[in-house]
Symmetry: C2
Subunit: 142 residues, 2 copies
């Protein structure tokens, strides 16, 4: 993965923006997407995630283990920027240093009144820009 | 599906906002998400979608046929609103009235210079709000 994409992922994920989503899927290929924003990218390949609701997302991750985070930033619907971070679930914690770390982060946010259920630990498998337009000049979709 | 959710989906999808995404998945449960915004919800259960790039999304849809659109509207990262629309691919057209209809819509947008490849036809299988917080008071995630 390119260094600049790793750094961009870290910067954007760790801002915990309200426009951060996680897409997941169950065994029958039913795709879900949810706002999941309390994250901490702690090194180049690891993301901690606070799970306090997100029942469907959580069930999907326990079934298939794969997902993609999107941070999408739009400027009055005129321009867009962001990052796509592809992940696999590698651990699901209810205690320990990682749990305490994401719990402290959660409590400092607008969601602080919700008890932390799980600290999900993801391994990053790929990082892509939001749009491939600038690279390929063939389309804004990917 | 609730009438108010159907109407909200129509209003938001048909605005073709830059913050409209489609999450899809391949047979190996690799999830993808892409900005896919040129849409036309033509009745309570049918969405036409302009495909002019989006190679991975398109390949995923041909493999598993399922996805979820998200329109997410954030107000300076303070509040959020939007809709989640769960879909199945039911047709893939390269000519005909639906193709011509979405082609005309595409050409009127910022993506007008990109040739339309396919008119994807989706059936809506479910519609949910972005957040379940107001309903369940248990968490902002879902």
């Amino acid at each position: 993965m390119e260094r600049k994409l790793i750094e961009k992922a870290r910067e954007l994920l760790n801002r915990n923006l309200i426009s951060t989503t996680l897409s997941t899927v169950d065994q029958d290929y039913n795709v879900n997407v949810a706002v999941i924003s309390i994250l901490d990218m702690i090194d180049d390949e690891t993301i901690l995630c606070a799970r306090f609701g997100a029942d469907k997302t959580y069930a999907n991750l326990k079934e298939t283990g794969k997902g993609v985070f999107l941070v999408l930033i739009t400027d009055n619907q005129e321009t867009k920027d962001g990052i796509r971070v592809y992940v696999e679930l590698v651990d699901d914690l209810t205690e320990g240093p990682y749990y305490d770390r994401i719990k402290a982060r959660l409590e400092a946010t607008r969601y602080g009144r919700f008890p932390l259920k799980n600290c999900l630990v993801f391994k990053i498998t790929n990082i892509l820009p939001v749009s491939m337009l600038k690279r390929e000049q063939v389309g804004d979709q990917d």
